[in-house]
């Protein structure tokens, strides 16, 4: 055990010391999780080259000249993918100057693009990176309108190139929050939605020489323009919705707007209409452990929700919707582990370990249509790899190494510095301020 730890740290130091692009790395001997729902592979090998996964599994040869990382006794997995977050938008939630998740007094809604608000250096990025999160879906919070704007997919690397995919989706509120934003009723929210898409469509048509954006439009030009790719089906529409009836109404929107590429978020009552969601082929990024009627729209909430949707054939993954979504994305493996635990509760529906891990790795990537690039250790994926000291879903486990795009990442962060300073709370020869 000591030996492998040592070799791992030596290799890690070597990786850090040299730029990794154009380098081949083989991680050997670990319990390899591909992340696509398949079972872990004992003694597997993962090969990365030029920042991408070349091969992973058993019987994979170590290429000549490869930097070898011995992961014997460890788990090797794809980096975790936070299926819903506000990561990078917030340093301290209740300190407005540091919180860019929402612009309630701004002029725009759908046109908002979170990209310029993302700060790769917020403390939470480093903290969550050290916990094994390597990618995150980042959605803005809706301002005074149902449309929140365009979200991004980011990486948690220790650099300034955080945005993997900007304008990755439009985010819209169509449940209780949507109702409130639209003036107080769901009827108004759905009308606001329809009107916006109709105006976007008119704008698109106008650009092709048909009647221009009308003067009585409710949407400003930027917001309408931002919705053109949504109504055309070129940009995914992530819809936050919880109540079963609301879910069905959202699915019905495709009758009027057939090109919509829907993804549902939240979906606490999804199990009640799981067959309809499955039949519609709409993926879901669900809250994992909601089990209280914390709002009336979650009256039927149960931790079995994801398991039941999965059984019904829904493509479902885990996201932390309005749930500590700026700082504690590292709860997602705990949540996944809880779904595994449910399998042993009579009457409950959980996930197998393999499904649960996929729900926090390839699942969100699949929901956003980027699973050919991210979320697993299948060949061709970006080299986001985490080496763990144990079962990644278990509470006692932690990463010992994190790579993003094949680049070894520092695991240090502000919390770790505070921990080290106060390991012994008493001052020594000098005040704590000198202890670093």
């Amino acid at each position: 055990m000591m030996r492998s730890l040592l070799s791992l740290s030596v290799a890690a130091a070597a990786l850090l010391a040299s730029p990794v692009l154009a380098q081949t790395v083989a991680i050997t001997g670990g319990k390899v999780v591909i992340g696509d729902g398949s079972a872990p592979i004992e003694g597997g090998t993962v090969v990365l080259r030029d920042g991408k996964v070349i091969a992973a599994g058993s019987g994979v040869a170590v290429p000549a000249g490869a930097q070898v990382v011995d992961a014997t006794g460890k788990w090797v997995t794809p980096g975790l993918f936070a299926g819903f977050s506000r990561l990078g938008l917030v340093e301290v939630e209740a300190v407005n100057e540091t919180n860019d998740s929402s612009a309630s007094r701004g002029e725009f809604s759908a046109a908002i693009d979170v990209t310029p608000a993302i700060n790769p250096k917020v403390s939470a990025v480093a903290v969550n990176r050290a916990a094994g999160i390597t990618r995150a879906v980042v959605a803005p919070i809706a301002p005074a309108a149902i449309f929140a704007g365009m979200g991004a997919v980011i990486d948690l690397g220790d650099d300034y190139n955080a945005v993997t995919k900007g304008r990755a989706f439009q985010f819209v509120e169509l449940g209780e929050t949507g109702s409130a934003k639209a003036g107080g009723s769901r009827a108004s929210a759905f009308l606001e939605f329809r009107n916006a898409l109709i105006e976007a469509r008119a704008l698109a048509n106008g650009q092709r020489g048909v009647p221009a954006h009308p003067h009585d439009a409710l949407l400003n030009r930027q917001d309408a323009a931002a919705l053109v790719p949504v109504v055309n089906g070129e940009m995914r529409l992530l819809v936050h919705v919880e109540r079963a009836a609301d879910i069905l109404n959202v699915l019905k929107l495709r009758e009027e707007f057939p090109a919509l590429k829907l993804v549902l978020a939240g979906v606490s009552e999804g199990w009640l209409v799981a067959n309809q969601i499955a039949a519609a082929g709409v993926p879901v990024i669900a809250s994992a452990l909601n089990d209280l009627p914390s709002e009336f729209e979650k009256t039927a909430a149960t931790q079995s929700n994801i398991g039941r949707m999965k059984r019904a054939g829904v493509t479902v993954s885990i996201g932390m919707i309005n749930d500590n979504d700026a700082h504690r994305l590292h709860y997602s493996p705990q949540y996944a582990g809880n779904l595994v635990a449910l399998q042993r509760i009579p009457g409950a529906s959980g996930l197998t370990w393999d499904q649960a891990f996929a729900a926090i790795s390839s699942g969100p990537a699949q929901a956003l249509g980027i699973d050919a690039m991210l979320g697993s250790l299948k060949p061709g994926r970006q080299g986001d790899v985490v080496i763990w000291d144990g079962d990644p879903l278990e509470l006692s486990s932690a990463p010992v190494a994190v790579m993003i795009d094949g680049v070894q990442q520092p695991l240090d962060n502000r919390q770790a510095r505070l921990r080290d300073r106060y390991r012994t709370p008493q001052e020594g020869a000098l005040p704590k301020a000198y202890d670093r």
């Binding site: 917030v90 340093e91 301290v92 939630e93 209740a94 300190v95 403390s123 939470a124 079963a244 009552e269 009640l272 452990l289 089990d291 209280l292 009627p293 914390s294 709002e295 009336f296 979650k298 009256t299 039927a300 909430a301 149960t302 931790q303 079995s304 500590n324 700026a326 700082h327 504690r328 590292h330 705990q334 582990g337 809880n338 595994v340 635990a341 449910l342 042993r344 509760i345 009579p346 009457g347 409950a348 879903l393 278990e394 509470l395 006692s396 486990s397 932690a398 919390q415 505070l418 921990r419 106060y422 390991r423 709370p425 008493q426 704590k432």
Partner: protein, 472 residues
């Protein structure tokens, strides 16, 4: 004087008079007797009506036991009867022949989990405005409010805490908008029609206080005092000074008789706190503020039981140990407000390593369902920094330590003969993410059984709703 504590807020209510002359009507007593009868403050006007539910004598054997006080017994026996723990020991512990015996192979037993910081019932589900009963945010000093008067027993959160979290006792606190938030109440986690029927018999009351951002924000934003941390302290000290005067007047009356002091409901609570009858639970994030509160407590002669949300306890764990004050903390909450900025996941472990009293609390309707998991995370982070902390110690953070801090450790919080049979049988090590309660007993009554849908409480609110009686 804005807070008016010395003014007679209420009529001089003569309650709880020990030897009322029953022949006389209530009004004629004071009218006809020039020498007024000695009055006293009724300390228990809303008494517990909780009665343990029937249970059957039960033994669990071949089970791993965390006794709550830091002990672990492998392949052990837990035996309880008549609502009380009868015996806890190794495999040789005798079990009567005629009782129910459960095989605990591969399973674990702990005392019932205790959450020292909950708002269930006061901020129930659904969280609509009509249910928002946890903060009397109308004055920074509302020592006169009692959390129990807001508890809605039909909050579905109680049943989730029982079934998923194994929680058998919990303290419901007022919120933290105010410096003096009011009285807390300790409940047994049993479904009931009334708050009184949940009330933990004989548990002392608590007083909720709050440091820091919340009071100064809530009142400062209204251009009221306090608008700063120094304002917080000023109002705190003035209030304690008044409480000391109030207590002195009552003490003098007790000694000399005469006209009873004007009754002040809020001051009753502070007087009891000064007398050590009420435990003080102080919401306080920052290390420097905790140190100031420690001195304030010495200034006015009271004792802080526990700092809640103490995300910076790790910076002053030595000071907390010296002053014998518990820290009730989350495993890893941080960054949601400025005073939580320095929260670290090793907080609990560093407090424990300094031999200061460590408690994991929830303050949350969701995390109360997995306090065992929160403890496990904190334990793992402590071990990773090289601290040698046992599993059994981590369980103590959720059982015996909160029981001590709440003043109920003589009754529950550990598996010791004679204590309440508040017991959880887990289907695996509760410090694993894969563990869930299999059975939960409160005072020896089986109130949750994962294998029996009929032993799953369903609140009135949930009846007739989609998902009624579901596994949650």
């Amino acid at each position: 004087m804005r807070y008016g504590y010395l003014a007679p807020l209420a009529a001089i209510a003569v309650v709880g008079c020990a030897n009322t002359t029953s022949a006389e009507g209530p009004s004629s007593a004071s009218a006809s007797a020039p020498k007024a009868e000695k009055v006293s403050i009724n300390e228990n006007p809303y008494p517990s009506t909780y009665k343990p539910y029937p249970g059957q004598p039960t033994a669990i054997r071949n089970v791993t036991i965390f006794d709550g006080e830091g002990g672990q017994i492998d392949n052990g026996v837990v035996f309880f009867t008549d609502g009380k723990i009868t015996a806890v020991g190794d495999a040789n512990t005798p079990i009567p022949a005629d009782i129910m015996v459960l095989d605990g192979t591969g399973k674990f037993v702990t005392p019932g989990i205790i959450d020292i910081h909950s708002h269930l019932g006061d901020y129930p589900s659904p969280g609509v405005a009509a249910h928002s009963d946890g903060n009397e945010a109308t004055s920074p000093v509302t020592a006169d409010v009692w959390a129990e008067h807001s508890v809605w027993p039909q909050d579905p959160g109680f049943s989730r805490a029982l079934a998923n979290g194994g929680v058998t006792s919990l303290q419901i606190l007022p919120g933290s908008a105010n410096l003096f938030g009011g009285r807390s109440v300790t409940l047994k986690n049993v479904p009931a029609r009334t708050m009184q029927a949940m009330k933990f018999p004989g548990a002392p009351y608590g007083l909720k206080m709050a440091c820091g951002e919340n009071p100064k924000r809530v009142y400062g934003s209204r251009n009221q005092k306090p608008a700063s941390r120094m304002g917080n302290l000023a109002v705190n000290r003035q209030t304690w000074a008044r409480a000391a005067e109030y207590k002195a007047r009552w003490d003098e009356y007790e000694r000399k008789g005469g006209t009873p002091p004007a009754r002040d409901i809020g001051m009753d609570t502070l007087k009891a706190a000064l007398e050590g009858k009420i435990q003080i639970h102080n919401h306080c994030y920052r290390a420097d503020e905790m140190a100031i509160v420690i001195d304030m407590a010495k200034e006015f002669g009271y004792k802080v039981s526990t700092f809640h949300h103490a995300v910076e306890s790790y910076k002053i764990a030595d000071l907390l140990r010296e002053n014998n004050i518990c820290s009730a903390v989350w495993a890893d909450w941080w960054g949601f407000k400025m005073e939580s900025y320095d929260g670290i996941p090793e907080n609990a472990a560093i407090i424990q390593n300094a031999n200061a009293c460590t408690i994991i609390h929830s303050d949350d309707q969701d995390q109360i369902q997995r306090l065992n998991q929160e403890a496990a995370k904190a334990l793992g982070d402590g071990r990773r920094m090289g601290f040698n902390i046992s599993d059994a110690t981590a369980i103590r953070w959720l059982t015996y330590n909160p029981a001590m801090a709440m003043g109920i450790a003589d009754k529950t919080g550990s598996l010791k003969p004679g204590k309440m049979a508040d017991v959880v049988l887990w289907n695996a090590n509760p410090l694993s993410v894969y563990a869930r309660p299999e059975k939960v007993w409160v005072d020896g009554a089986l109130l949750y059984d994962a294998n029996d849908p009929k032993r799953r409480p369903v609140s009135d609110f949930e009846l007739g709703q989609p998902g009624e009686g579901d596994t949650k």
